[in-house]
Amino acid sequence: MNKENKMSTRLPGFLALPALILIFAAVPASAQAPAAERAIDRPSVFLDAPDCDAAVLRADVGFVDWLDAAGGEHVLVVIRQQIRESGETEHTLTFEGRREFDGDRQMFSVLTPAGASAEETRQALARGLKQGLLRYAGKTGVADRLSVALLDKVKPTAVEDKWNFWVFSVNANGFLSGEQSYKTSTLNGNAAASRVTPDWKLHFRLSGYLSRSAFLYDGGEIVNTSNSRSFSALAVKSLSDHFSVGAFLETYASTYSNIGLNLSPAPAVEVNLFPYSQCTRRQLRLLYRMNFRSVRYLEETIYDKLRENLWNQSLSVTLELKEKWGTISTALEGSHYLHDFSKNRLEFTGEVVIRLIKGLNVNLSGGGSRIRDQLSLAKGGATLEEILLRLRQLETSYSYYFSVGLSYTFGSTRSRVVNPRFGAGPQRISISM
């Protein structure tokens, strides 16, 4: 009874909040014009170019407001000419920011060859003028109607590189956490070498992983460790905008999977139904692999094996789309052993993020496996810790995960205001190794 009384005396405090909000909100609502738009729609510019046909130049640059007289401009542009000894004309363009752009000044020159026609000079100057005005226009409302492009196609490898595109890296990573009754630690190290050009992709990587966890229970300590090591290599040759051939080599050892040593070379081919050059927008890749596996187990398996040599083939289909309406990324992979076709596996993963209507976003992600090829399962039973902490692979004919998220936003959705006071709220930190 007494507690309920206390509860009801707390209620006015609860009600006080909306009241306070109303008081705050009532303050200067009118002064708060929603900052949905940028303050300036486009910069006003005055051009001081006595040696040029200013009217023609001005007509070429449509994304600023040209002023007929100096005064009140956001940017003052001055163009001056000088003839070099080589006969080229050097046009110096000076951009002087005023008002909101006060102090924002830049200068560069445009060269025109000796004997350039008036038309050529006009084009060169107009280009320089547009390029120089871009940094001011970028800060105004006109920015989203501008586009910038290189007129030519150029190879990404057109650089001088004394390392011939080889990149090497070494890294060491660790994670430790704990409190009085438990402690965990994970260490991981990698060394990698790679050379990626449009023609060839070469990648080599050596990795090691070590993990330990300890729990205090019933006066004793429960300690579990697991580790893995691996070496992987990949070489891919580009054959056309749709075909590639290559080979994988994988070597690893893992206590989770009961594997003392696994060695598997695998030649592979890939077809992309879309041209590879569109890869950031869409890909539909089919990858076929023929794997040879030579395995040595840590403990005798449920099939009474300590080692075996096996052939396995796999086919995967990967679809990736990133378009205006959203992103789709899915993969389906099937594989089976050649000595026994019933030892097989089918895996699917997918992620879809789509905006259905304005403000409503849906994301779905999931994966499922039908598993009939757990050849490495150890005979002995698992301990309670191994089950709860998922320290070793357990027998299963399937696994799945699925997540769905729906988010609907409405109201004043075009505000540009940033208010950092009292921090950004709880942040999620994710660490991946």
Binding site: L146, K153, F215
Partner: protein
């Protein structure tokens, strides 16, 4: 025969002439030679689609280390009032471009797709890079286009700056011996102007895990509910005052429910206007909390009302050489000053030497205020799965990654064949 050849040659020439853009350069354009002299750019961004940037912005060269760059593009983000993102692109000139700096901004909406966001960022990157490109020979092959568009007049904001969001999330996974299910529902209403910030949020998390193996069976259900409210009034470029209001319920923390309210003040040593690059904030709050427990606590309580105060110092820096984010907070109860807690969080990401980078994240707490601990002893499963709060005078985590890269400095190439490759290493992302 010869005649036909000549026709072919003329046709080929015509095709060529047509292929060359209207600006019809008489001189030969050796684009490869021009590309070699283009600025070297380092894109310093946590969550950008770097491959897309490289395929869209081809008039510069990309390098993998900031020390090699002519232009360092530092991209930071901050939440906008509409729950979107303000991307601040800071262009810092180096080498021959020392002193040529610029800041461009791009704002994306909460429901913008990844493709829209990467296109907006690419536009801002191109605009910002032009100040450097204009000074190099490749500039004469870069064209700026303008598409005049009739734009709708700025709409009147009939929502008076309020933004609402409803979200539901479900996560399910399992195999023969294990299954888990997690569902989360959230609703929020925010009104953020530069003068006043109001944030109201409701959330529910429902968690279920089951383990089954050779006759052993264990199930665990845990729910969390919370309401949080915050109102902050701006008092000049350095000061703010506000009020927190929270209501929580947590199986993990043995809380049937708790209600707390706390007025607070904050002082930022840097002006708030610089917050995307630097903040050093001191936040003080004090107020009462009323709690009711599921199980009687180790102190024999089933409910209590307690007053508490806390002080937090938070430093956030985002500079050329890296990132520092750290906070230290201390709190104590008024009925017993010995019931207190000290929390330290720190994250640094540094790139001080060519090729060498270091990331370290850690947090530690000295805990002397576990007032809600239930009296009964935890089971083995509760310990292993960490499904309830356990008595501890401290907790910590620490993670580090050290990476050294050498070799080719250029990273212009995008090669998607056989899928993505990774050279390992640690990645830390904050959102």
């Amino acid at each position: 025969m010869r005649y036909r050849k000549r026709i072919c040659a003329v046709l080929a020439l015509l095709c060529l002439a047509w292929a060359i853009p209207a600006s019809a350069q008489v001189e030969d354009i050796d684009i490869e030679a021009l590309k070699k002299t283009a600025p070297k750019v380092f894109i310093d961004c946590q969550n950008c689609d770097i491959e897309f940037i490289k395929t869209e912005v081809t008039f510069v060269n990309y390098v993998r280390d900031r020390k090699e760059a002519d232009v360092h593009v530092l991209i930071t983000t901050q939440r906008t009032a509409s729950q979107g993102q303000e991307h601040t692109l800071t262009f810092l000139g180096q080498n021959g471009f020392q002193g040529v700096d610029d800041v461009q901004k791009y704002v994306s909406g909460k429901s913008d797709t990844d493709d829209e966001i990467r296109r907006g960022l690419v536009r801002a990157i191109k605009i910002g890079l032009m100040s450097y490109v204009a000074r190099t020979p490749i500039a004469r092959r870069v064209e700026v286009d303008y598409k005049p568009e009739a734009r709708a007049a700025a709409a009147v904001d009939r929502w008076n700056s309020w933004v609402f969001n409803l979200a539901a999330e479900g996560y399910f996974n399992g195999e023969q011996s294990y299954r888990s299910r997690y569902m989360e529902f959230t609703a929020s209403a925010n009104r953020v102007t530069s003068d006043l910030k109001i944030q109201l949020g409701l959330s529910t998390g429902i968690d279920f895990n089951a383990y089954e193996y050779e006759g052993y069976k264990y199930e665990n259900r845990q729910n969390e509910y919370s309401f949080s409210g915050l109102a902050v009034k701006s008092l000049g470029p350095h000061w703010s005052a506000g009020l927190y209001f929270d209501a929580d319920s947590s199986d993990y923390g043995n809380l049937r429910w708790s209600l707390s309210a706390a007025p607070a003040v904050e002082y930022n040593i840097f002006p708030y206007a610089q917050s995307t690059r630097r903040q050093l904030r001191l936040l003080y709050k004090a107020g009462p909390a009323r709690a009711r427990y599921h199980d009687a606590t180790i102190y024999g309580k089933t409910s209590e009302t307690l007053w508490r105060e806390s002080l937090t110092v938070a430093l956030e820096l985002r500079e050329k050489w890296g990132l520092v984010s750290t906070s230290l907070s201390g709190s104590h109860y008024f009925h017993d000053f010995g019931k207190n807690r000290l929390n330290l969080f720190a994250m640094v990401s540094l790139n001080l030497l060519k090729g060498l980078s270091l990331v370290a994240v850690g947090s530690g707490a000295r805990i002397r205020d576990q007032l809600s601990l239930p009296g009964r002893a935890p089971t083995l499963e509760e310990i292993l799965l960490q499904s309830r709060e356990l008595e501890t005078p401290y907790s910590f985590f620490f993670s580090f990654g050290l990476n050294f890269t050498f070799g080719s400095i250029y990273s212009n190439v995008v090669n998607p064949r056989f899928g993505a490759i990774s050279s390992g290493g640690m990645r830390v992302s904050i959102d």
